[in-house]
């Protein structure tokens, strides 16, 4: 028997290390997959205010990946608490609510509203624009990361995860800032800003010109950042980016992630998370690990400092 439990700190223990990535999961998956089998449930990012999304086309397939500019269409926190929460409450897996806000104070206000039965934790999507800083995402810089996380930490005792952006040049410093401000965990990472052009119409493929890249194409980049962050902080890191199989998930766990999120792969294979859980178990068994938590210390590498940002060339 392989022990799949992972301790995420602040009293949150997950039955297994596999959960959906925000924005790639909703009620519909309950029709296909037993949600009670997942380590946690993570909602699409919600905001206090009502928000529409971006213009269509909102997605494009790129070689081995997905480009999207969905944006954060949100019906607001009230509607979430009234309608979506009761639905998720029916499942035993802990519910993590992803939130976003346009200012530091709004992050605090949004987090304060989630001290509610049935919510097991908060994932702060700080990869979104900070309107007080010219629209630069909070997680682009250590200082704004620290401010946003502190504002939430003040108002909540729930486990609080900060979701980082891979578009920053200094993810290890951002990770340390989030930890210093009281984050209980880090999700590494969101989508990578990218673009494609339809050369026949001579237009950007997305209505929004640029969008976020996800899926297998980004995996080696997300894995590198997961490794850097896991070495930079003591709080748990949740690896995310391109995971589509148990083998991919094991790479992240070996790189130091305590848990993983599966995003785009669920769109192409809705049963991916189940397969990942089964495959991790089998890997541990085959390699002689009694607990999945042991993988975090199993990498054979002359460890590099987490700030090593120098491309090989």
């Amino acid at each position: 028997m392989v022990d799949l439990k992972v301790d995420m700190g602040r009293g949150l223990v997950l039955a297994n290390p596999v959960m959906p990535a925000s924005g790639t999961f909703a009620e519909g998956l309950a029709k296909v997959v037993d949600l009670n089998g997942l380590g946690a449930l993570v909602t699409k990012t919600i905001t206090a205010e009502l928000r529409g999304g971006n213009p269509t086309p909102r997605v494009a397939e790129v070689g081995n990946g997905m480009l999207n500019s969905i944006g954060i269409p949100s019906k607001g926190i009230d509607q979430f608490l009234d309608e979506a929460l009761p639905f998720y409450r029916r499942f035993s897996s802990p519910l993590i609510v992803s939130i976003s806000a346009p200012t530091v104070d709004d992050f605090g206000r949004a987090a304060a509203r989630l001290n509610v039965e049935g919510i097991a934790g908060i994932e702060a999507n700080i990869s979104c624009p900070n309107i007080e800083e010219d629209g630069k995402a909070f997680a682009m810089r250590p200082q704004t990361t620290e401010q946003a996380v502190s504002a939430m930490r003040k108002v909540t005792d729930l486990p609080l995860w900060a979701k980082l952006t891979p578009n920053t040049g200094d993810i290890a410093s951002v990770a340390r800032a989030a930890e210093a401000a009281g984050a209980d965990g880090l999700v590494v990472a969101n989508t990578i800003l990218a673009m494609t052009i339809d050369i026949e119409t001579m237009r950007p493929t997305l209505g929004n010109v640029m969008g976020g890249l996800s899926g297998p194409a980004v995996k080696p980049i997300a894995l590198r950042m997961t490794y850097q962050c896991a070495r930079a902080v003591d709080i748990p890191v949740i690896g995310c980016g391109g995971i589509a199989s148990a083998e991919d998930a094991v790479e992240f766990l070996l790189a130091g992630a305590r848990a993983v999120q599966v995003g785009t792969a669920t769109f192409t294979r809705p049963g991916t998370m189940d397969e990942v859980i089964a495959g991790i178990t089998e890997y541990c068994r085959r390699k002689g690990f009694n607990a999945v938590a042991e993988l975090g210390a199993a990498l054979n590498a002359d460890m590099l400092a987490p700030d090593v940002m120098e491309a090989a060339q």
Partner: protein
């Protein structure tokens, strides 16, 4: 039947009962029906074969050479029979995904996720319907004719096409007892004025309690206008680019007019069949 809504998605106290399956389907046949369309017949017993008219599947399309479809491709159920476990799709070979689909040979397998979405409804007071479609829209409408027949509802199918070679599904409609009227670009009968005249005539003859359409924006707008004027129940099946097919990614949204307001709905989850009155031009 309307798709089971969220309230019904209850975690089994004991076992989990899926309502949508990702079925590994075996290809029975995959043949050309004309120069552009193929019909694929799949062996896909279980949940898949319980699909209702208007519901769709999200289909994994094989990688072939330079064609590397990353997403699945949505396809309307052309036929589904719980008795035989057969599911069929009629599809136009268009781009990377459908070219991949077209490469499947009997005995091969692919994954089909479904049944998905909300299918057509036949309110009890609707005793006769007109289905109006063009191109691939006819594949979506064909099973509606059988659903109507099974409920004793009379069907007139108006089949629009470029020319005689592009006419699709006429035998399906006839076999289901539908009256078929064919309108063509090649002889000018598909002109909006003529189609409008036919619809008005059918309504005047008491053969149009319900309007159903798919596959053409112009035909949808025409039916929408007439349905409002004549106070006829109406539905339209919509298309939009999809990734998940399960209401999770929000990429398949379209705008709808609901009580005077423009709201965005997910074609895969709130549709693909929508009230005709709510549709907006695409």
């Amino acid at each position: 039947m309307r798709q089971i809504d969220n309230a019904d998605v209850t975690p089994g106290s004991g076992g989990f009962a899926a309502q949508v399956a990702d079925t590994v389907a075996r290809v029975v046949s995959n043949d050309w029906v004309n120069a552009e369309y193929k019909l694929i017949v799949l062996d896909a017993p279980g949940l898949a074969a319980s699909a209702e008219a208007g519901q769709f599947f999200n289909i994994e399309c094989p990688v072939v050479g330079e064609d590397k479809p990353f997403f699945r491709r949505p396809m309307s159920t052309y036929a589904a029979d719980p008795e035989t476990g057969r599911v069929e799709f009629l599809y136009k070979v268009a781009g990377a995904g459908t070219r991949g689909l077209a490469s499947l040979i009997s005995g091969g397998t692919t994954r089909i996720l479904g049944p998905l979405g909300v299918g057509f409804t036949l309110p009890d007071d609707v005793r006769s319907i007109v289905v109006l479609g063009r191109g691939v829209g006819l594949a979506t409408l064909a099973p509606l004719a059988e659903m109507a027949r099974d409920r004793g509802v009379a069907v007139t199918a108006i089949v629009s096409a470029r020319g005689p070679e592009q006419i699709l599904s006429v035998e399906r409609f006839r076999a289901a007892g539908a009256k078929v009227e064919i309108v063509l670009d090649s002889d000018g009968t598909s002109a909006m004025t003529n189609v409008e005249a036919i619809l008005r005539r059918l309504h005047a003859e008491g053969r149009a309690d319900g309007f159903y359409t798919c596959g053409s924006n112009r035909l949808m707008l025409l039916m929408q206008k007439l349905a409002a004027e004549l106070d006829v129940f109406g539905e339209v099946a919509m298309e939009q680019q999809m990734a998940c097919g399960l209401g999770m990614c929000f990429c398949c949204v379209r705008n709808f007019t609901v009580e005077g307001e423009t709201i965005s709905k997910r074609v895969c989850w709130d549709g693909p069949v929508f009230a005709l009155s709510e549709a907006t031009s695409w």
